[in-house]
């Protein structure tokens, strides 16, 4: 093959679109969303505990001799920027006796949850291009593949630190993640049985045409089948949500880093930006979990009566505006729904006490797993009953 023919054989347009979408999703949306989720966590926890929280950080105009910092429009919105600066500028300290290679590798692997965003449709379409990075037929499996591998970061961090508490945190985390991965995978099967495909873009399109899985109010959603399926789907949703809490190590299930028992769990020995990467990874995993809930159960980018980016559906007078406006509205709607679920995550963290480790294992193996398994048969029975 000559060099020229080789360059022609590379699908440049596809590569550019994929790179553009990846860069947009990761740097334009998810990393800002992560930092502002941390900010939201601090403000919501403050509100729940009747405090004020960080409400002052603005542009540091005091450095230039002014009397006050320049406030952004809500006050405190500069806090994530200040946090990031602090993490970057701190001394990067590596304790003696750690396994260096794995000690460095673990925080890098902690950012792995971002990969699963490639499979999630974050919008309908913009200028005729589908707003999903990898539109493959095995989207669901791909996400579970990435989720299954995200345990390595925690296990390696715990082991490489060469210290008691991180090791305990790592061991706890691997058994917890294995236990809840099963319930998570099984709880999604009723959704796949109803829909009959693993392509997440098609799943969202189906919900846009026929009613969200948990809100079947239009199209095919008004059939007996869909309303009867609400029973197994609601059970699926609850199990999936609990499993996401466990997979992302959020309180009630934050065993790997429970502060009162394990200092800080697997990242006890980490500081500066390496610790920040674990922190970002945890919040990125939360965003992925919320995005999955939105895609599976709450119609993804779809809002009723609003057309999609191809100018299909919705109220007819809205078509007066160009299609790309609605494409952007769809993307905003998706991340808006994700934000609502993120606030729910935070709310739960500051409301519920922590489980004990044996209770956690018992809940995962003895209840959630069995209920998820029985739920599949319930869904099959409903589908068989209504198809006649």
């Amino acid at each position: 093959m000559t060099t020229l023919a080789f360059f022609d054989s590379i699908p440049w347009e596809m590569i550019l679109w994929a790179a553009g979408k990846s860069l947009f999703v990761i740097f334009g949306v998810v990393l800002p969303l992560v930092s502002y989720t941390v900010y939201a966590e601090r403000r919501v926890s403050a509100a729940i505990q009747d405090r004020v929280g960080p409400n002052r950080t603005g542009f540091p105009t005091t450095l230039l001799g002014f009397k006050k910092d320049l406030q952004l429009f809500l006050g405190g919105l500069g806090q994530p920027i200040a946090d990031a600066m602090k993490f970057i500028l701190k001394e990067d300290f590596t304790p003696a006796g750690v396994k260096h290679f794995y000690f460095w590798l673990a925080p890098c692997l902690a950012m792995l949850p971002l990969v699963s965003l490639a499979f999630i449709p974050f919008g309908s379409s913009l200028f005729g291009e589908k707003m999903v990075i990898a539109n493959v037929n095995v989207g669901v499996l791909g996400i579970f593949a990435v989720t299954g591998c995200s345990v390595y970061a925690i296990v390696l961090a715990g082991w490489a630190s060469n210290s008691k508490y991180p090791f305990l945190g790592g061991i706890r985390s691997s058994s917890q993640m294995i236990a809840y991965e099963l319930s998570m995978g099984l709880s999604i099967i009723p959704v796949l049985m109803l829909f009959g495909s693993m392509n997440l873009s098609d799943l969202v399109q189906y919900q846009a045409d026929n009613g969200w899985l948990l809100l079947p109010l239009w199209g095919n959603g008004l059939s007996t089948e869909r309303w009867l399926m609400l029973i197994p789907l609601t059970i699926s949703f609850i199990i999936f949500m609990i499993a996401v809490f466990a997979e992302t190590n959020r309180l009630p299930f934050d065993m790997p880093e429970s502060e009162t028992e394990l200092v800080a769990g697997y990242h006890t020995e980490y500081g500066s930006m390496k610790f920040a990467l674990f922190f970002l990874g945890e919040y990125a995993a939360m965003i992925v979990g919320s995005a999955l809930m939105v895609v599976f159960f709450f119609g993804g980018w779809h809002i009723p009566l609003i057309p999609d980016g191809n100018g299909v559906g919705g109220l007819s007078f809205l078509h007066a505006l160009p299609d790309w406006v609605w494409g952007i509205v769809n993307i905003t709607a998706f991340f808006g729904k994700v934000a609502v679920i993120l606030v729910f995550f935070i709310w739960v963290r500051w409301t519920l006490p922590r489980f004990r480790f044996d209770q956690l294992m018992k809940l995962g193996w003895l209840y959630l797993f069995e209920i998820a398994l029985a739920n599949i048969f319930l869904a099959a029975a409903v589908l068989a009953f209504t198809s006649n």
């Binding site: 037929n137 095995v138 593949a145 989720t147 061991i171 991965e181 495909s197």
Partner: protein, 170 residues
């Protein structure tokens, strides 16, 4: 599949496969095996076998190797690193490997199809490849009985593991 990507992932896979055997540290071996699995999954993706690639990562990298790592970390790592090389075992292993390679070369060289490339596989016109659906349909129509027999076998193995591990606890 782009030949450059094929050679890249093949070399990476084989390299990390050798690292699994060559490493003295069991955790390093296990992590090399994980990377090797990922490269194999990448090769599957290059063949448009997305389902197989995902399953490869879910089952091997996501479940089996996590359990391996879990066990390795609970065991004493120092014993393996301190162990001396057994020269006789290395010689014997090399001999067996060489004999196997020679036999492989002999069989592949004598096979009549080996001297011409495979015909290119073409999908029926207007049909997109949905490997997930194809695998499911084949598994539940053509191979239903073997599939169910394997299910029963795995169930037996699971029950056996539970019985044995419970007995040790007493």
């Amino acid at each position: 599949m782009n030949p450059i990507l094929f050679y890249l992932f093949s070399i990476l896979m084989l390299g990390f496969g050798i690292a699994v055997v060559a490493n003295r540290n069991p955790v390093a071996s296990a992590m090399s095996l994980v990377v090797s699995f990922f490269c194999l999954a990448a090769l599957y993706v290059g063949l448009d076998a997305y389902f197989l690639a995902s399953i490869q990562v879910v089952v091997y990298a996501g479940a089996v190797m996590v359990l391996f790592l879990f066990i390795i970390m609970l065991l004493d790592l120092k014993a393996e690193q301190r162990r001396k090389f057994n020269k006789l075992a290395i010689g014997g292993g090399a001999l067996v490997a060489l004999a196997f390679a020679a036999q492989l070369v002999g069989v592949l060289g004598s096979h009549p199809r080996g001297d011409k490339p495979f015909p290119e596989l073409k999908l029926p016109v207007g049909e997109s490849l949905n490997d997930l659906q194809h695998v499911g349909e084949t598994l539940f129509s053509l191979h239903t009985l073997p599939f169910q027999v394997i299910g029963v076998l795995i169930l037996v193995a699971t029950i056996g593991v539970i019985v044995i591990s419970k007995r040790e606890l007493k």
